[in-house]
């Protein structure tokens, strides 16, 4: 018996099951258009995409780590140190007089910091056998502390201003609003290609599900882990470039709010924290949803601390829904337990 309409239904259901965030995103988007004043204006929608772009870049990197069953706390500190170090190169260093030189050097420094920290994280996890949350917590503290120290040494305030105007193009200044969006899309496409089409992506998933079986199957487990930690760091470095250009100054507080939104985007998007399931498609939806929430609540005049409560609740909810949707057996078992009480 073949019934095309039920086939179609099943397909839609399987997409929703795989990405429960999708209907939520659609509904909240429609809700925001209908109920939030000034949401559906050209200016705000452009702003929405701009806000999404650096979050998408940093979240793509984190997705690799989470797919592997790990976590990277250091990304926010990379963002911060990158921001102040890059701003220093462009505004205060001897190179500052020649933007044509200082901008590329600054970008290289920012991404280089990401690469270096990512490498340290990767080696700490693979060679010293540290759990990623310990290793990256340590680098987060060290690098974050460095950023504040460095800022206080070179500047009287917590930020470094005086960046060259041209640099703001990377932040989407004026009619160049598409630049960061294009960069983010490129990063996302590259991440998607890595995960879905290359051997490296296959390894990331396999090691995330079962590192022992992967090792016995001859997969380069350590190399892959170092690679994805570096990827996460470099993405954070690139996000630092975009965010610094958008803010117009190097800030030692840049990363403060970023960690919560990044981790929320990845998890609410549906990538499983125990590794091996999810991907950057999920993360894209997660980023669009979290930014939407941020943007809409902002327009409604809701403060950051309320936002924190909402994000925390969402992370909890999505973790529960992934668990329930993924194990129907678990569901029936839970029902049995519940009626027992």
């Amino acid at each position: 018996m073949h019934n095309p309409s039920s086939d179609c239904q099943r397909k839609v259901w399987s997409i929703f099951r795989e990405m429960p965030i999708l209907p939520l995103l659609i509904v909240s988007f429609l809700g925001a258009i209908a109920g939030v004043p000034y949401f559906c204006t050209v200016g705000n929608l452009r702003n929405y995409l701009l806000q999404s772009s650096d979050l998408l870049i940093i979240s793509c990197g984190l997705t690799f780590v989470v797919l592997n069953g790990g976590i990277d706390f250091s990304i926010t500190s990379i963002l911060t140190l990158g921001s102040v170090a890059g701003a220093y190169v462009m505004a205060l260093s001897p190179l500052a007089a020649t933007p044509a030189l200082s901008i590329p050097v600054a970008i290289a420094v920012m991404m280089g910091i990401g690469l270096l920290v990512g490498m340290v994280n990767g080696l700490a996890v693979t060679q010293l056998k540290m759990p990623s949350f310990v290793a990256t917590l340590a680098t987060q503290l060290v690098v974050g502390g460095l950023a504040v120290q460095f800022t206080s040494m070179v500047s009287a305030t917590s930020s470094i201003a005086g960046l060259p105007e041209v640099f703001f193009v990377l932040g989407g200044e004026g009619r160049f609003f598409f630049v960061p969006i294009l960069i983010a899309v490129a990063v996302w496409l590259f991440s998607w290609w890595l995960l879905e089409r290359t051997l490296f992506g296959q390894w990331v998933y396999a090691i995330g599900v079962n590192p022992k079986a992967s090792f016995i199957s001859g997969l380069p487990v350590k190399r892959t882990i170092v690679g994805l930690m570096v990827l996460s760091g470099v993405c954070a470095g690139l996000a630092s470039v975009i965010a610094t250009a958008r803010n117009g100054v190097g800030m030692s507080s840049l990363g403060d709010k970023m960690f919560l939104t990044t981790i929320a985007s990845v998890i609410v998007g549906g990538t499983n924290t125990s590794g091996g399931h999810g991907g950057v498609m999920h993360t894209l939806l997660g980023v669009l949803f979290i930014t939407l929430l941020n943007n809409a609540l902002n327009l409604l005049g809701v403060g950051w601390y309320t936002m924190m409560i909402v994000l925390g609740g969402l992370i909890l909810l999505s973790a529960m829904s992934t668990h329930l949707l993924n194990s129907r057996a678990g569901w029936t078992w839970k029902k049995g337990q519940a009626s027992d009480v």
Binding site: T198, L199, I216, G218, G276, H277, T332, W333
Partner: protein, 502 residues
């Protein structure tokens, strides 16, 4: 009062619309040992989970000692006197024997603190009952599997179990531990405890059980007193057809080419100076008791564990560094004893598992996997090995039966066309029908010129499949027997530790 301890009538269960049990009628008499057997997927686990309160039946009734019985949780089942000794033991290895016995309800003193004195004394009594070689303060991590099982049984008795269900209790026991377990089961029976004994191992079932119930495809395929049914008859009931022979026979030749040679391998205290050779076309059995070091030897051969000393030659090449990827490069494959934790990506589809090793060969310089080629190789493996799967791209490996899961593991390696196979318990958790297919796969590999090391705890299958059998005991090879001289007792004797051998 009837003589029935537990009666099930018309029990039905379906998972997401797929019926697994089709109205079972089933009775356990007081004080009997009832053997339950059947192929994987026949519904044994589901049935036992219903009795144990883990799952709830969709329809039907259960009667426990003439009272209606419908447990909603494992805790309720325990309270009604049903104990479940699982295949994977449910003890906390980081706790002591006494703590484990009281894990679900510690007795407390006046101040609400745990009453350690009371725990220790009750645990000591329980231990004395079977004269176990432990103290209440021993950490479970330090105990062998056999002793752990005894601790579980003692724990069940502390809870006043009237019915004990054993689910494949001997899979990880040595034959000595197995004998001790059987002795205990006999004692329990004398005390009037009724038992359900689930196993694949027909020999054990015949030895132990009063009656034998066979499950097939969610139905009862017959219950008979053990004395009135033959092994062949039982197998016929299990598979629904007659197995003309348990082991396949294939004409093959053994060449003189040595594909794997190990010289004086040592690893910790587990592998002590082992040397062996595998020739092309040869199937070499490796027999030994649990803890004899067979799995460890295989892991050292494949570089999963780093040897402390010794040389390994694969395909005429002396291996400087032994690691899984180096061994794969040397044309070797390793099918691990524990396919769930070391062989498969359980939560991933069949396709993702099959191509895990081969993909590296199907990749261009940019690292892009050729998906068309990958799909072709996967389809070929599924066809060659007759893996029963509906949609390999979406169907999770965890949804397959044990035999089919094992075939996926074989497929993963066979695709790479290796010449050396290390097989560690390749038929564990595989039902009778699928075992024949696994044996055929192994024979076929040898016929095509591969060298096979076949590790098993079951002498019968080794004698049925291998060209010669090596015996390992406490980390050493203690014997080698060619096919013509296979003799169950002789092999067993070599495997048993004794003063004459040390």
């Amino acid at each position: 009062m009837s003589d029935t301890a537990l009666r099930l009538a018309g029990v039905r269960k379906a998972f997401s619309g797929v019926p697994v049990l089709h109205g079972l009628d089933f009775a356990l008499k007081k004080g009997e040992v009832l053997g339950v057997t059947g192929e994987n997927g026949a519904g044994k686990s589901t049935l036992m989970n219903i009795i144990g309160g883990v799952l709830r039946m969709d329809a039907g009734t259960m009667t426990l000692f003439d009272e209606p019985y419908a447990p909603c949780s494992p805790a309720q089942a325990t309270a009604k006197g049903i104990a479940f000794i699982h295949q994977e033991l449910n003890l906390f290895t980081n706790l002591t024997v006494a703590e484990n016995m009281f894990i679900d309800g510690f007795p407390t003193n006046r101040f609400g603190a745990i009453d350690h004195k009371k725990i220790t004394s009750i645990a000591q009594q329980a231990i004395d009952r079977f004269s176990l070689p432990v103290t209440p303060a021993t950490k479970v991590a330090d105990l062998s599997t056999g002793i752990r099982q005894m601790v579980e049984i003692s724990k069940a008795l502390l809870k006043n179990a009237r019915i004990i269900i054993f689910d494949e209790p001997t899979t990880s026991l040595s034959s000595r531990e197995k004998n001790a377990l059987f002795h205990t089961i006999g004692e329990l029976q004398q005390r009037g405890i009724s038992m359900i004994y689930i196993s694949h191992i027909l020999e054990d079932i015949f030895r132990l059980c009063d009656r034998i119930t066979v499950l097939r495809d969610g139905r009862i395929a017959g219950t008979s007193p053990a004395a009135e049914i033959s092994e062949n008859e039982l197998i016929k009931r299990m598979v629904g057809r007659e197995l003309s022979q348990i082991f396949p026979s294939i004409e093959k030749t053994i060449s003189d080419t040595v594909l794997l040679e190990a010289r004086h391998l040592k690893w910790r205290q587990r592998v002590k100076d082992v040397s062996l050779k595998l020739r092309a076309g040869e199937i070499v059995g490796l027999y030994g008791l649990m803890g004899a070091g067979r799995t460890e030897l295989a892991k050292v051969l494949f570089g999963v564990e780093q040897r402390d000393a010794g040389e390994l030659i694969l395909n005429h090449r002396l291996m400087a560094q032994v690691s899984p990827s180096a061994c794969i490069g040397g044309n070797a494959a390793f099918i691990t004893e524990d396919r769930r934790s070391e062989g498969l990506l359980m939560s991933k589809p069949v396709d993702d598992n099959l191509c895990l090793v081969k993909s590296a060969d199907l990749t261009n310089r940019l690292g892009v996997v050729n998906v068309v080629e990958r799909a072709r190789h996967n389809r070929e493996a599924i066809k060659d090995l007759q893996i029963r799967v509906v949609d390999p791209a979406t169907q999770l490996v965890s949804s397959l039966s044990g035999g089919n899961q094992q075939k996926v593991v074989f497929g993963k390696w066979v695709m790479k066309d290796p010449k050396i196979f290390l097989l560690d318990e390749p038929t564990r958790g595989v039902d009778v029908g699928a075992r024949f297919e696994i044996y055929s796969i192994i024979m076929d590999l040898a016929k095509r010129g591969s060298a096979v090391l076949f590790i098993s705890s079951e002498l019968q299958e080794l004698m049925g499949v291998c060209d010669r059998i090596l015996v390992m005991q406490e980390g050493r090879l203690t014997g080698e027997v060619p096919k013509a001289e296979f003799d169950q007792e002789k092999l067993l004797e070599m495997a048993l530790p004794g003063p004459a051998l040390t």
